[in-house]
């Protein structure tokens, strides 16, 4: 079934950090962690957003970045939004994996919090590395701690946890511990590095990609990845390591609204 547009109201707004807000919707969505919604703000735009709450009323967690997210941050409880969800393929928790590692950078933590909750519910041991530029921008640390995950924190400026990137913490952690599976979401360059670290230890991994979407349901072709032909909105946004290895554009470029390649800045 193709998810249809459902116009609903914002039920609750939670200020998570200075630049991040969660919007709880007046609707429930039967979804897997890692699936997303196309979120329509009438007169503004429609953008893909990871579902950050899927038990009970559904929610999205939004970083104020461009015009759309700025307008969304101005929304009030009771305002109308259009939702098409659940879309895409969520993260896959495998029965045989007992001990998993979750690595999230910045707003990339949004789909990983419900994943951690589900993993714990399934009896898995969860370790999480959560990173942000600074202490006040750390997202959902409490949600991971609440379900009993072992949490490592990194900040670019050293105001909390380890000073550095999530991948720095991951490198140190993998020297003394191993995991059955790894789940990664954050800036693409971070995901490339995290995937390399996991691969070196032969840990099966999933990443969640971000691309420019138009239809969000797999027919317009805007988010097709070069090299593999996967549609990020349909076969993704989550991909296994062996799938993403076939996608030559991963870590290199994305395509803008016209379809023109835009190269990532290497840090």
């Amino acid at each position: 079934m193709i998810a249809k547009l459902h116009v609903t109201k914002i039920r609750e707004i939670i200020k998570e950090t200075r630049r991040i807000k969660t919007f709880i919707l007046d609707m429930k969505i039967k979804a897997q962690p890692g699936q997303f919604a196309m979120v329509w703000l009438p007169d503004v735009d429609e953008k893909p957003m990871a579902l950050s709450y899927i038990d009970g009323y559904a929610g999205i967690t939004v970083l104020k970045l461009g015009d759309f997210t700025k307008k969304l941050h101005e929304a009030k409880v009771g305002d109308i939004v259009g939702i098409r969800a659940p879309l895409g393929r969520g993260f896959k928790l495998r029965d045989e994996d007992k001990k998993i590692l979750i690595v999230g950078g910045g707003i990339g933590v949004a789909p990983l919090a419900p994943l951690a909750e589900k993993a714990v519910e399934e009896g898995k041991e969860v370790t999480a590395i959560i990173g942000a530029v600074t202490k006040s921008e750390l997202l959902f640390v409490n949600r991971f701690e609440k379900v009993g995950a072992k949490v490592y924190i990194t900040t670019d400026d050293g105001t909390a946890g380890i000073k550095g990137f999530t991948t720095d913490a991951m490198r140190m952690l993998l020297e003394k511990e191993t995991f059955d599976a790894c789940y990664i979401c954050g800036p693409e360059i971070m995901m490339v590095k995290a995937l390399e670290l996991a691969r070196a230890k032969k840990i099966p991994s999933q990443v969640s990609l971000h691309r420019y979407f138009k239809c969000g349901i797999g027919i317009c072709g805007a988010c097709v990845l070069d090299g593999c032909g996967y549609r990020v909105c349909k076969e993704g946004p989550t991909f296994w390591d062996f799938e993403i290895e076939k996608c030559s554009e991963f870590g290199s470029y994305w395509r803008n609204a016209a379809g023109v390649k835009v190269y990532f800045k290497k840090k």
């Binding site: 547009l5 329509w40 109308i80 379809g259």
Partner: protein
């Protein structure tokens, strides 16, 4: 059994990917050609310069139909060269859809596409949501004639004209294509439509209006193909709501030699082309035919 010659092109089967679906890059088209099994693929409509198209929402989905207004986004023909070139090793004919704001723009893009290796050109005279292009040309006999004639005089590969049903008399437009020596007519493009959400109290699409495609377009499109086939001798390619082999057969009986499939990619997946082909074959067998040729135009 399903191979057919359309406007000089030898197709292994009569299903073509319609323009505007999966065509942003060569990778998407390749997936349709290889995994999907299309007999030919039509690129997204290409213009002179890169164009972002309309803001989202660009699509509204219903049970078996869509209203969409992407606004002809594309990279511009120079960037698109490498996308087309990726398709050479698939051995599936590539039809380049082109549009322009001015006849000279249609000609420039068509010439480039021929040079990049396209097997045919499809002139977009059908698209309703991008200003003075597409259906702006296809709604005038005179402009249709001029665009087709100008492009025909500059390229050697076959030229298709994709027409809109948003006209008083589609047959007179089809005749203008024939007079201008078009090699085939594609009928039809999406029909102007809109959706208003009653709770938001606003049009859903950012462009306000869009184009209707999918199942609900089929009876209109079959009627157009039938009317054109009665009056015009050049090949016709049916387009609109082909989801199954049975849908395709209706078009063949109405006089079309091939069909384009777009919206059904959403409802039946990328492999819809293979599925439709199997269904056409089983129809032909059950009716005692040994080739597709035998049923073209039987209902005329």
């Amino acid at each position: 059994m399903l191979n057919i010659k359309v406007a000089g092109l030898e197709l292994s089967n009569p299903t073509m990917l319609a323009s505007g679906i999966m065509g942003v890059s060569g990778s998407g088209l390749k997936a349709v050609a290889v995994k999907g099994g299309a007999g030919a693929i039509v690129t997204q409509s290409i213009s002179i310069a890169p164009r972002e198209g309309h803001k989202n929402p660009t699509i509204y989905t219903m049970d078996d139909s869509l209203i969409s207004a992407f606004g002809l986004p594309n990279q511009g023909y120079l960037n698109y060269r490498e996308e087309i070139e990726q398709l050479k090793d698939t051995n599936v004919p590539v039809v380049a859809s082109v549009y322009g704001y001015g006849i000279e723009e249609y000609v420039e893009v068509a010439k480039a596409m021929e040079e990049f290796g396209a097997s045919a050109i499809e002139l977009n005279l059908a698209y309703p949501n991008a200003g003075k292009t597409g259906s702006f040309y296809g709604q005038s006999e005179h402009l249709t004639y001029e665009v087709v004639r100008a492009v025909k005089s500059k390229v050697k590969i076959p030229v298709f004209a994709k027409l809109t049903a948003n006209v008083t008399d589609i047959v007179s437009i089809a005749k203008a294509c024939e007079e201008a020596k078009a090699d085939a007519i594609v009928a039809i493009g999406p029909v102007g439509a809109m959706k208003i959400d009653i709770y938001a109290k606003k049009p859903v699409l950012a462009n306000k209006t869009g184009g209707l495609s999918g199942k609900c377009l089929k009876p209109i499109a079959v009627r157009c193909v039938y009317e054109i086939a009665k009056e015009v001798d050049i090949d016709i390619i049916g387009c609109g709501g082909v989801f199954t082999g049975e849908d395709a057969v209706e078009y063949f009986l109405a006089g079309a030699k091939a069909v384009q499939i777009g919206t059904a990619v959403l409802y039946r997946g990328i492999r819809v082309f293979k599925k439709v082909c199997r269904e056409i074959e089983s129809y032909l067998k059950s009716q005692g035919y040994s080739s597709l040729d035998e049923i073209i135009g039987l209902a005329l």
